[in-house]
């Protein structure tokens, strides 16, 4: 820009110099032409009168040397027929006929005539003036003068000198000015435009910049706020969240994604391919499908966890612009799903076993294959099996009630010792059958709870202690308060639980010794009921056992 300004300034100077020089050359040419005309005219009158009065006049003209120098007047006398009778410079006899010269023709016609003719010398011309004398001869005066170009040419050296001076001046001045203009612009503090001290012409610009700065500031704040909101939302999501562009490069992700995919921060980075996050077959497939415009949802295993992998394309006007990938940890859900399936299978199996027996006995009786005296025994068997079924269904109902917490059960203050004694009474007959000593010791322990559920819990524990015992063994039920917490403890010196089974005994239908389950009876739901009851009351169940030595279960409130 600076160069352009200097350049145009110089051009303006140059053009104006040339133009003015040419103009002044032309003007001065016409001025001098006018002067020459007038003086020639006057001179012609003198010479004319001189010739008319004195015949020697012409000779004296020649002797004076008229017309020999470049700009003096050349005098020529032309006879009426056009022959030259006298010329102050050349020999008249050798000169051609002048009758056809324009000034001579004009002089014959109107008395005077003039013409301008190019000279043989470059840039010179002659002004010719002719007067018709009284005797019919024509007197012609001819003056040499510079042409227009000649007069301009004379100015060229001046023009060059002038140009150099003016150009220098123009360059220096315009450089200085452009510096003055540009310097403040270069030094503008764009962050605080109104604080700049510059010339007035820039004020509107600064005002505008100031406003735009404010707008930008507002927009930035808004964007930041939105970004923060977005980050807050995604960062607090339990689900992994990854946004990729159309090339599969990561645009954004949250910490859950990093956690779920098990990558260290250094590996997965923005603007890196999403495949650096995970490259398992399912993941690749889901991303590729999403980027080709198909939304997918699938369950995939990454490491030890199951994830629900949802990949959705982000569609723009020009097709797919990227994809959003959401990862949900469904390991627990899958696990509970698996347990539910197992439970259903177990329940069906447990329900079917007594029913098959019942159906078998009934079939034999129906077909008349049983002697009438055997019928009571068969009926007894059917009765036992139905009792087992009823117990099983009752247990399942209890469990599902605890599971659903559908029934609103009233909590009251109850004494654990009372419940323990009650339970012991109910089980005493069974215990005595196996010669097991059953005793309740300790002190009263009051807790807040649902008596029915507490009763179930203690009943199941004592029932197990009796069931999985040896003949002549013992079961101790202790209640009391220790460290401000009420507790009930059921200890036996029975068969114990093998170590590998200990963590499973609270699972539904889990039997340590599957082969003996029928013989011992029970539904396999007892400890499950204890576990759910404990969860219901928010109490702690601790199980200690040694195989062959005995088992102790303590419930601490």
């Amino acid at each position: 820009m600076k160069k352009k300004i200097i350049w145009s300034m110089s051009m303006i100077a140059l053009v104006s110099i040339v133009f003015s020089m040419v103009l002044s050359g032309v003007v001065s040419y016409y001025d001098s032409l006018e002067i020459i005309k007038n003086s020639t005219m006057a001179e012609s009158q003198y010479i004319q009168s001189g010739i008319e009065k004195n015949d020697d006049y012409l000779d004296s003209i020649r002797s004076v040397g008229y017309g020999t120098s470049t700009q003096s007047v050349r005098v020529t006398l032309i006879e009426a027929d056009g022959t030259v009778s006298f010329d102050s410079v050349a020999d008249a006899a050798e000169m051609e006929n002048h009758a056809d010269r324009p000034e001579v023709i004009d002089a014959h016609a109107t008395g005077t005539g003039e013409s301008i003719r190019e000279s043989e010398t470059v840039n010179m011309q002659s002004y010719n003036y002719a007067v018709l004398m009284a005797d019919g001869r024509v007197l012609r005066l001819s003056v040499g003068m510079k042409t227009v170009f000649g007069s301009i040419e004379r100015m060229v050296p001046w023009m060059v000198l002038c140009s150099i001076v003016v150009l220098l001046f123009a360059v220096v001045l315009s450089t200085y000015r452009t510096k003055q203009i540009v310097k403040p612009i270069n030094n503008i503090d764009l962050d605080h435009p109104m604080e700049n001290d510059v010339y007035d012409e820039l004020a509107p610009l600064f005002l505008r910049i100031e406003r735009q700065n404010e707008t930008i500031q507002e927009k930035m704040e808004e964007l930041n706020r939105k970004q923060n909101e977005f980050t807050a939302i995604t960062e607090n999501m339990q689900e992994g969240f990854i946004v990729v562009d159309s090339k599969g490069d990561v645009l954004s992700y949250n910490t859950s994604a990093v956690r779920l995919l098990g990558i260290d921060r250094g590996a997965g980075q923005r603007h890196a391919s999403v495949l650096t996050f995970n490259r398992s077959h399912d993941f690749r497939d889901a991303v590729d499908l999403a980027l080709s415009g198909t939304a997918t949802e699938r369950v995939t295993r990454i490491g030890a966890h199951s994830y629900n992998l949802i990949a959705n394309p982000v569609l723009g006007e020009a097709g797919v612009r990227g994809a959003v990938i959401v990862l949900l940890d469904v390991t627990e859900k899958e696990e509970s799903e698996r347990m539910r399936r197992e439970f259903t299978a177990n329940v069906s199996h447990e329900l079917k076993t007594p029913l098959t027996s019942i159906s078998g006995y009934a079939e034999i009786i129906r077909n008349g294959l049983v002697r009438s005296e055997d019928i009571p025994r068969f009926a007894g068997n059917i009765y036992t099996e139905t009792q087992r079924l009823i117990t099983l269904v009752e247990d399942i109902i209890k469990l599902s009630q605890l599971d659903e917490r559908a029934v609103e059960l009233e909590r009251t203050r109850v004494d654990l010792q009372g419940i323990a004694r009650d339970v012991a009474e109910r089980l005493r007959a069974t215990a005595e059958k196996n010669r097991i000593r059953l005793q309740v010791t300790g002190e009263a322990a009051e807790v807040t709870g649902v008596p029915r559920i507490l009763d179930e819990m203690i009943f199941n524990l004592v029932d197990n202690a009796v069931k999985y015992n040896r003949t002549g063994g013992k079961v101790d039920i202790t209640t009391g308060v220790r460290d401000g917490h009420a507790f009930v403890e059921v200890a036996d010196d029975g068969i114990g639980i093998p170590e590998q089974d200990r963590e499973h005994v609270f699972e539904r239908f889990y039997r340590v010794d599957k082969s003996r389950s029928k013989q011992i009876g029970g539904t396999g739901l007892g400890l499950s009921i204890v576990k759910h009851g404990a969860a219901f009351h928010n109490v702690h169940v601790a199980l200690q056992s040694r195989e062959g030595v005995g088992t102790t279960v303590r419930i601490t409130f």
Binding site: G266, S273, L275, T276, R279, S280, H281, R284
Partner: protein, 212 residues
């Protein structure tokens, strides 16, 4: 111009990750076919192997284009030249996995038999390939060197399987044919481990310019 070059380099990077992931897939699939030798599982291995071959050609031409059109230097050149070497190792992994799958068709006995250590070999090689691809993805030299060291584990397992098979032939002559097939499968796994080591070495070369 540079931008386009960077874009192509990034594409090379992504394609290599993809090919590495396919290699991880193909060995797991081969191990699966060994466990359950059905035509269906074998076919999955062959399909993945074909895909790996396609990927190799694709990456090869990409590398050639990069070399000819961009004349890369220094680390870029190292990356591209090691990519060319890596893909041939990866391609071999695919072929050997396909070979394993093919062998499963003739086995009378289950290859993943718990008395043999082939299952361990499969696990160890899968881990090595995963490690080598991971070291490439993260440019993790430490991991690359760990993969190179892990080869000893696979080699030791191979020797163990060899001994076990020798004992088996000695005790039961009729199982000879099966044992030789199993021996070859073990050898393929051992070779896959070697290729994983090669990949890890090229990762190291791409990063440091030193080839061990």
């Amino acid at each position: 111009m540079r931008n386009r070059f960077d874009e192509q380099l990034e594409r090379l990077n992504v394609e290599l990750i993809r090919m590495g992931a396919l290699c991880e897939d193909v060995i797991s699939q081969a191990a699966k076919a060994l466990e359950t030798p059905t035509d269906e599982f074998r076919q999955i291995v062959y399909d993945t192997d074909h895909e790996i071959d396609r990927k190799e050609r694709e990456i090869e031409s990409l590398c050639m284009r990069l070399l000819l059109q961009q004349q890369p230097v220094a680390s870029d050149l190292r990356l591209i030249s090691s990519a060319l070497k890596m893909i041939s190792d990866m391609e071999r992994i695919g072929d050997q996995a396909a070979d394993i799958a093919e062998m499963t068709a003739y086995l009378k006995d289950n290859g993943m038999d718990s008395q043999l250590h082939i299952a361990e070999m499969a696990r160890a090689t899968i881990q090595m390939v995963t490690g080598s691809v991971d070291s490439f993805v993260r440019r993790d030299l430490e991991l690359a060197r760990k993969v190179q060291a892990d080869d000893d584990v696979v080699d030791a397992l191979f020797n163990r399987v060899k001994k076990e098979l020798v004992e088996r032939i000695a005790s039961d002559r009729s199982s000879g044919e099966d044992c030789i097939d199993l021996m070859m499968i073990a050898k393929y796994f051992e070779r896959i481990g070697d290729h994983a080591v090669n990949i890890a070495e090229w990762v190291e070369f791409a990063a440091t310019g030193q080839h061990s």
